[in-house]
Amino acid sequence: MYVHDEFDAAYVRERVRQFRDQVERRLSGALTEEEFRPFRLMNGLYLQLHAYMLRVAIPYGTLSARQMRQLAMIADRWDRGYGHFTTRQNIQFNWPALGDVPDILEALAEVGLHAIQTSGNTIRNVTADHFAGAARDEIEDPRPWAELIRQWSTDHPEFQFLPRKFKIAITGSPNDRAVTRAHDIGLRMVAGPDGATGFEVIVGGGLGRSPMIGKVLRDFVGGADLLPYLEAVVAAWNLVGRRDNKYKARIKFTVHELGLDAFRDLVEAEFARRRPSFEGADQALLARIRTQFAPPDLVSMPTEPFDRAMATDPAFRAWVATNVTPHRRDDHAIVTASLKPHGGNPGDATTEQMSVLADLAEAHSHDELRVSHQQNIILPHVPKGALPAVFARLQAAGLGTGNAGLASDIIACPGLDYCGLATARSIPVAQAISLRLRPIEAEVGPLQIKISGCINACGHHHVGDIGILGLDRAGVENYQFTLGGRADERARLGERMGPGFAFDEVPAAVERMVRAYLALRRDPSETFADAVERLGTGPFKAALYETRQDADAA
């Protein structure tokens, strides 16, 4: 894992010192809110409905046990004993007092974390495949590249006042678990003609009020060209992006309005101009970064406890089927600790749960944890023989729900329960759906339900098998459905269904579509997504609307 060097540490501490001074000046009245607001946003501090919210960057979703413990300490000491893990692999604290934030940032700096560029029109936290370094299908661990991009983009003088925010995702696997096609830039690692590592560069993806799937800007950019090429893309957009209209400012509009080919010409011209100034320092830095991502020394331990539990414990077996993914080494496994208990708040973890996860990472996963964009926590390197012990500890902590990838593994934004932009609640809708579908979710199999509480689409509803968008219709919450979206390497936007549903009608509406799927599928191997692809949305739409009166009476 990457550990901050002296330069990083000094930089972060200087930023904390500056912010402490800015907070003092705000509290003394020397700064107005208008003057202070940009400073607090530069440090990830938002003001929401009930309180301030601090968004902390977790670079490419990777945490050490020590960092997770520090997050737990912060939640306990300065917040309300929990934190919220987000779809961009960050953590948000929902209740900090303004005067405490400099101390929180200092505590974060102690463990190499910060909240810089988690807001504002800058390059945000780079996200990555949460199975990076452990996945079986991986070409190479993408995180050294992600760290290189993090260092390049942090405080990059040219890119501090971009037309709008800018999000980059990276994956080293052909199976895309990082939603690369819904990012401003998505990077998919590919092997080049000579076997060297390079990237397919996807540009102009994004959800929000005008969702678009990213397009391939270049099939192959060699590793040595990656930073100059990224710089060329961002620079080209920075010059022509729509600063006149914040709703048309993201790069997806630039690509859409100019056309992919015309935008590519701008990028190639920038690239030709900039490439010579990259003389190899970035590659030397990458080599240094790589040493910190050396694969862990995996231990060999007997798999006998695993075999025995599989033979005797049905609960363990069911959990393994959903929450354990094959590791690149046969006698190890990747564990998904669920932050989606039935009826719970998606993505929330208490102080105690964070501590348990830190303990488990230390004892069984080479000190490593990941945050997934699906708002769960991953233990990436667990010996199979330790799985029964890990499961027992997770279960005791309320983290052992066997539902990864199932109907109750719902992505939900904080919605109107917290967020100042939201138009409807998301969390209680997720809770009600997860409780309703719990009895049938094992039978249903893989199903991605994603809920956003406003058109900004933080809950990724456009790319869910079933997407739900909460709106405010004349003072009443109303929920619209999209169907047939995909978030993987075949990413696709869902198709919008008809009129929306009231808050109380949503769980039954979802169940009608899920039951239609059970009735229509060829056999259990045909997933919900496959069935929608084969049949179109028609039969599901019919099920959604067929019995509105019955649902109302139920």
């Binding site: 509290l27 003001l47 409905l49 300065w78 208490t350």
Partner: protein, 109 residues
């Protein structure tokens, strides 16, 4: 064509804690919307908003929030203001009730 002014209260967030507060008739910021001053007249509301904005050392983002007068005081008309007025999310919160900040935060401004 001018629209009729909807009765409103002035809603803001406390600078220190970020907690929701409303402007009362005596110029104090209160943590209970029921005690907020209902502004029926647009011109008066504009003057009250100026007063609120001048208090930037105590609150952030004063704005009008439409209400319906009710038996127990003003009732917010938007889902957003209803959530703010209930003092927290509509769902039970996880977490440790004894954590330090929770106790401190519960002391309303």
């Amino acid at each position: 064509m001018s629209r009729r002014f909807t009765p409103s209260v002035i809603s803001a967030n406390d600078l220190m804690t970020g907690r929701p507060v409303w402007l009362a008739a005596d110029d104090r910021w209160v943590d209970d919307i029921a005690r907020a001053e209902i502004l029926e007249d647009e011109a008066h509301a504009e003057i009250r908003l100026l007063t609120a904005n001048a208090d930037s050392e105590r609150v952030v983002g004063p704005a009008l929030a439409p209400v319906r007068p009710g038996p127990a005081g003003p009732e917010p008309m938007t889902p957003r203001e209803r959530i703010r007025a209930r003092g927290g999310p509509s769902i039970p919160l996880p977490g440790n009730v004894t954590s330090t900040a929770r106790k401190a935060n519960d002391v309303r401004p």
